[in-house]
């Protein structure tokens, strides 16, 4: 699998603390309990800004996908990456790479799991999907 490096900033710091610990954190609304995506600044249901962090189950289902074809590497090896949109069991969507997947086997609804990958050992952990 290949993920790139990413620098944390004020909006992603807590989420990346979660990924470093092997967790995909969602925002849980203190007012209505709705689980919003990690990037939400307010509850996706009731607009409350009183949000806690809550780990997702890590279960997801495929919404759509693409096989991205990059330039072949120096030795001529094809550079293909499977990317997808997955609906987390809790409702929010997440866009990322799907690793260890045969694109021909992917369907809408294919069960996926969130795992984490690093560009280099010292880099941030990036959530990616793997067929469940």
């Amino acid at each position: 699998m290949t993920v790139g490096p990413v620098a944390r900033d004020a909006t992603t710091a807590e989420f990346l603390d979660g990924t470093a610990a092997g967790q995909f954190l969602l925002r849980r609304c203190r007012a209505c309990g709705t689980l919003s995506g990690p990037q939400a600044a307010q509850c996706e249901n009731c607009a409350s800004t009183a949000l806690d962090w809550r780990p997702a189950s890590g279960d997801a289902r495929l919404v759509s996908w693409t096989v991205a074809h990059g330039k072949p590497d120096a030795s001529g090896i094809a550079n293909r990456t499977v990317l997808g949109i997955a609906e987390l069991a809790e409702g929010p969507w997440w866009w990322s790479q799907i690793v260890d997947a045969d694109p021909a086997q992917l369907r809408v609804g294919t069960p996926l799991r969130i795992i984490f990958a690093r560009h280099d050992a010292q880099d941030e952990a990036v959530p990616v999907f793997v067929p469940a």
């Binding site: 990413v6 620098a7 759509s64 996908w65 074809h69 990317l83 409702g91 969507w93 990322s96 694109p103």
Partner: protein, 400 residues
């Protein structure tokens, strides 16, 4: 979304002389044109549009500017053009929906008397000699931090990939096929063959389409728009002022926008429906015409798929039937529906929303030469920006 457009409050509600019209069109050389930045292209486009209209630059009292990925067209274009005492000046940005949106703002300004003659310009210069078009857009997309940076780290770096996932969802839901997407590419190339402004004028077949290399499945190279340098401007004024000018006026008869604001969670209709589904009916209502009255449709076509979903959402065919409709031979110069008559962004030139708008003006004036559609009274213009996030529609007419 509820349509709140008032059928009796559009241009039809004001005296005929105050109704907004497009009186000038300026297009620089487009495509692999090097040596100018976006601001220079923008200035050239406005000067060309004024000359086309038969106006002096000093007649312009409103200026709306916008640019593509490289930016660079800013408010100081006013100074580059030596425009003094403007009554309206702003930079606008809603991506591919901007061009039509600028015409909407200009039309409202003219109709209300806020400004008399408004130039709307868009320009970009992402191409550099010796560097391919993927590099031109890839460089702009590189992000190292934040939520976008997290997507990029995971490999999601381009609009090609995001739209490919929209198209894949449509295919999975409705059974849309590669051959059906290809029919759109082939049909539009058929129009481009007839267009001296087009960058790609060699006819293609469905076999050529299927043999073109993968970019991001289901998109092949021939599903994707060109990348072009250049600038295009239009000038909006009132029908009264346009009466003595050089070109036949093109009436701006109805308009609307739609910005869905996707939830990005369960039940999001991403890939299945675009803003055209609401902007289209609203613009037609303001124009007081029916979809069946439209003679020519110029639809934003960053990808073949964007045309397909727009055809469905405007109602030229049923939801989910865009594929069979395209494959039926309905599009192209011999087709029953005249769509993207210049070849569009797939085959002619990629000037974001200015591509459909410029071809619409040329067709409505009856100046399209070999590709002129005989019936060109009503022309629909569709803009689309972001990844199906921003939508704008214009209904133009050749007579008031």
């Amino acid at each position: 979304m509820t349509i709140i457009t008032y059928a009796d409050a559009g241009p039809r509600s004001v005296p005929a002389g105050r109704r907004p019209v497009i009186c000038g069109l300026g297009m620089t050389e487009l495509g692999k044109v090097y040596g100018s930045g976006a601001a220079q292209f923008a200035g050239d486009a406005v000067r060309l549009a004024a000359a086309d209209a038969g106006l002096a630059l000093g007649d312009i009292d409103g200026l709306l500017v916008s640019s593509g990925v490289t930016g660079g067209v800013r408010l100081d274009l006013q100074l580059d053009l030596g425009l003094h005492d403007l009554a309206l000046l702003s930079e606008m940005q809603a991506y591919g929906s901007t061009a039509a949106a600028m015409v909407q703002v200009a039309s409202m300004a003219v109709q209300s008397g806020m400004a008399a003659t408004v130039a709307c310009v868009w320009a970009d210069a992402p191409l550099r000699a010796g560097r391919d078009s993927a590099a031109a857009y890839g460089a702009a997309a590189r992000v190292a931090s934040g939520w976008r940076g997290l997507s990029a780290a995971a490999g999601i770096t381009s609009a090609n990939q995001r739209y490919a996932m929209a198209a894949r969802r449509h295919m999975e839901r409705y059974g849309t096929t590669s051959e059906q997407l290809g029919a759109i590419a082939v049909a539009q190339r058929g129009w481009a063959v007839l267009n001296p402004l087009a960058q790609l004028r060699t006819p293609i077949t469905i076999e050529d389409y299927l043999a073109s290399r993968w970019i991001a499945e289901p998109f092949r190279l021939l599903d994707c728009c060109l990348v072009s340098n250049g600038g295009i401007a239009v000038i909006v004024t009132s029908a009264g002022r346009a009466a003595g000018l050089r070109q036949p006026p093109v009436y701006v008869r109805g308009w609307a926008q739609a910005h869905p604001g996707r939830s990005g969670r369960r039940f999001d209709d991403f890939g299945l429906v675009s803003g055209a589904a609401t902007a289209g009916p609203a613009a037609l209502l303001m124009a007081d015409v029916e979809l069946g009255d439209i003679d020519v449709a110029e639809l934003y076509d960053c990808y073949t798929y964007t045309v397909l979903v727009s055809l469905e959402d405007y109602g030229f065919c049923g939801k989910g039937e865009g594929g069979p409709f395209a494959a039926s031979g309905a599009l192209g110069p011999e087709g029953k529906l005249k769509v993207n008559t210049g070849g569009g962004q797939l085959s002619s030139y990629y000037m974001w929303g200015m591509t459909p708008l410029s071809e619409a003006v040329i067709q409505a004036r009856g100046q399209a030469g070999e590709r002129q559609v005989p019936a060109h009274e009503l022309v629909l213009v569709s803009g689309n920006g972001g990844v199906l996030d921003h939508h704008s529609t214009l209904v133009l007419s050749a007579t008031g």
